[in-house]
């Protein structure tokens, strides 16, 4: 342990700890910095985090120093402030100061430090700023503005250390130095937007988000990416009911600081034209579906049940790994256990498996397969579906796309007496369904996913559902009521507590999962140990 003094106060830190982090703990806020990033190696190029260490003749950069016993550090004094001022002047020397058109404005470190240090008039002024490349698309997702760059080398370190794709580098010398992609390369890996996140200034901006909204108007809501089984933590940035972008939320146990471009751009589906916003009912096979009210849709289900043979009619339910744990549990307990519907399974065996990578992107493209397994749900295969297909059976598909999973599932579906689809997006299954019940998107509802490592992570609703789309939990509840078994619970909290009480695998969730999720298996083990 190292006893040391920071800004006149005694502190104790682990030996060899990074001084930057020690100062952050001592000060309660970070030192000014551009190049330091906890997920990357130390570069020490921006010189912003200089501190005065007694006994040292010169100021030291905190990020490249280590804690030592007896150290006396000053992070705020005239000398340090003067140095930061000078460094800022230096960084701004060739900066175009085009904040009005810069997307980074509002979340720009340069702006923040500039304001914090009161540099309202530049101390140094040069006649001709060096012009560098502006508005240069360096990849599918990323736009480069070399003039705004402060050469912190975060992006180059990211492509070197994290993705190891080596697309970016710093070229030229002196004040002509600039970042760019290597000749002949484009920044097109699946993690390219992380460079935009870590860019402290507006040098790298997202082409996806470009000019769509000023950042100070965005509200953040905690979400979980539903793009694959990894379950990256993200925050949903939205304003006035529109989601504008998603950014990774730090979670050392899951995605650390990163997130893949695939997951990031999934939010577009919320406002796509293929959203289901109103229930629709098809009078007969082969006819076009007509939009209807919820009442009418429910009455149609009732009528279809009677037409299929009244009490003899069977109900079959297909769940999906796209549904949340609460929805799966609700469907299972209400529609299967109470109503008596046969539960075929949660997904067609082997479907929705693509190629993954070693970093974050998982081969399993569904967010909650682990949760479904923990609920005791099983996979099924095409034969089971074929066998179950029956003129007298009503099939209820809760989320997911069967045809996408198995191209010939469509044929099986059309053999069912009546197909009810519950989901938020139009797909081949919903096209085949006789009755479509629109639900809310993940960003529009609350829920819990269990990722591939068995970590339960909850997410909150960021915006309201469009049109008449309803929360799936509510629809399941209403369907239960329609079939004569109205559930005792109302609302997600009640479902969750019932889930924790009845399903042993989720018992640990009773105390809440916290913002960073809860590893269910580890929690169950420790509970066993405690017992």
């Amino acid at each position: 342990m190292a006893k040391m003094t920071i800004d006149g106060k005694e502190h104790e830190f682990e030996d060899g700890m990074n001084l930057f982090e020690a100062c952050a703990v001592a000060r309660g806020e970070n030192l000014p910095h551009f190049c330091y990033h906890p997920g990357l190696s130390i570069a020490g190029v921006c010189r912003m985090c200089q501190v005065e260490v007694e006994g040292m003749p010169k100021l030291m950069i905190a990020c490249n120093s280590q804690v030592k016993d007896g150290m006396v550090v000053h992070t705020r004094n005239e000398r340090v402030d003067g140095a930061v001022r000078q460094i800022l002047n230096f960084h701004l020397l060739h900066h175009p100061v085009d904040c009005p058109v810069c997307d980074q404005a509002g979340e720009c470190s340069l702006q923040d430090f500039y304001m914090a240090n009161g540099l309202y008039e530049a101390d140094v002024d040069i006649e001709d700023k060096i012009a560098k490349g502006k508005v240069k698309p360096i990849g599918e997702m990323v736009m480069l503005d070399a003039e705004r760059c402060v050469l912190c080398a975060r992006c180059t370190r990211f492509t070197t250390e994290i993705t190891q794709t080596h697309e970016m580098g710093i070229f030229n010398r002196g004040d002509h130095s600039e970042i760019d992609v290597a000749p002949g390369k484009t920044l097109d890996n699946n993690y390219s937007l992380n460079t935009v996140d870590i860019c402290p200034v507006g040098a790298l901006t997202s082409r996806d988000f470009r000019f769509r909204r000023r950042v100070w108007w965005l509200s953040e809501t905690d979400g979980i990416c539903h793009g694959c089984a990894t379950g990256c933590n993200m925050s949903i940035h939205h304003s006035e009911g529109i989601v504008y972008r998603t950014k990774p939320r730090d979670n050392m146990d899951v995605n650390r600081y990163w997130m893949c471009d695939h997951g990031r751009t999934l939010y577009h589906e919320i406002a796509e034209s293929d959203r289901l916003t109103q229930p629709s009912v098809r009078k007969a096979r082969g006819e076009l579906a007509q939009t209807a009210s919820w009442d009418h849709a429910y009455r149609s289900i009732e009528a279809a049940g009677k037409a299929l043979g009244g009490d003899d009619a069977a109900l079959m339910i297909i769940l999906s790994p796209h549904a949340t744990v609460e929805e799966l549990y609700a469907a299972k307990s209400v529609l299967s256990d109470s109503v008596g519907g046969a539960l075929l399974g949660y997904r067609l065996r082997g479907s929705e498996i693509g190629e993954g990578d070693e970093l974050l992107f998982d081969a399993d493209r569904t967010p909650n397969a682990a949760g479904a397994k923990k609920l005791g749900l099983a996979e099924y295969d095409a034969k089971q579906l074929e066998a179950a297909a029956n003129e007298k059976t009503m099939l209820l598909v809760v989320g997911g796309d069967l045809a996408l999973a198995a191209p010939d599932a469509g044929a099986a579906l059309s053999k069912f007496g009546c197909v009810v689809y519950l989901g938020w997006q139009e797909n081949s299954t919903s096209m085949l369904a006789d009755i479509v019940l629109p639900t809310s998107h993940y960003a529009e509802r609350e829920g819990t996913f269990v990722n591939r490592e068995g970590r339960a992570q909850t997410f909150a609703a960021a915006i309201d559902a469009p049109g008449e789309a309803r929360d799936p939990l509510r629809v399941i509840r209403e369907l239960g009521a329609l079939f004569g078994h109205e559930p005792t619970w109302d609302g997600i909290e009640a479902v969750r507590s019932e889930l924790c009480a009845r399903e042993g695998a989720f018992a640990a969730m009773a105390q809440g999962v916290g913002p960073l999720g809860l590893a269910l298996d580890a929690a169950a083990e420790s509970e066993v140990e405690r017992a």
């Binding site: 904040c99 009005p100 058109v101 404005a105 502006k134 470009r210 000019f211 769509r212 000023r214 108007w217």
Partner: protein, 173 residues
């Protein structure tokens, strides 16, 4: 009936203080007041032209350059809006009356420009903060137009086209 009186002291409490005896008699003061009002009346009858009243639609007041009239958007030399859609004005606007949609501009020297620029004149409080906030001097309130009237709400929702060619009085019809 709300004022109850308790005693002679309560009645004079808070009033009649510091008045001379002849002032507290009130009659003389009334006559003085009547004299003043009559003086105004007589003067105004015989010098009607000196009255500060303007015969408004016939005579227009000159408010000078400091009047914050209806907004206008400035143009570049090529006639396109000077605005870069930084949305500083809509951010500062206390009435939340400006809404801007930005777009990527293809021109080499212009990176960002407004796709739409709408002002809801019914919500505008004419505080002029948007003019202060604008980094490009793109919005001004120097048209001198203060007669903004229409018989339908839609006429007050002015768009970029209108604001760029802000020459007519009133609002768009």
């Amino acid at each position: 009936m709300g004022y109850s009186v308790h005693g002679p002291k309560a009645r004079t409490g808070g009033q009649g203080q510091g008045l001379l005896p002849k002032e507290s008699l009130y009659l003389i003061e009334i006559c003085k007041g009547l004299f003043i009002t009559m003086r105004h009346l007589v003067r105004n009858v015989f010098h009607m032209g000196d009255m500060p009243t303007l015969q408004y639609p016939d005579e227009k007041p000159d408010y000078g350059p400091w009047l914050r009239g209806r907004h206008r958007l400035m143009k570049r030399e090529d006639g396109s809006p000077r605005c870069v859609a930084c949305q500083m004005c809509s951010t500062i606007c206390p009435a939340d009356c400006i809404s801007i949609m930005a777009m990527d501009d293809d021109r080499p020297d212009v990176e960002k420009s407004p796709e739409t620029f709408d002002i809801d004149l019914l919500r505008c409080v004419y505080c002029g903060l948007c003019v202060e906030a604008c980094p490009c001097d793109a919005i001004r309130m120097d048209t001198g137009i203060f007669e903004i009237a229409a018989d339908n709400r839609a006429a007050f929702q002015v768009d970029m086209d209108f604001l760029l060619n802000n020459t007519t009085d009133g609002v768009k019809s």
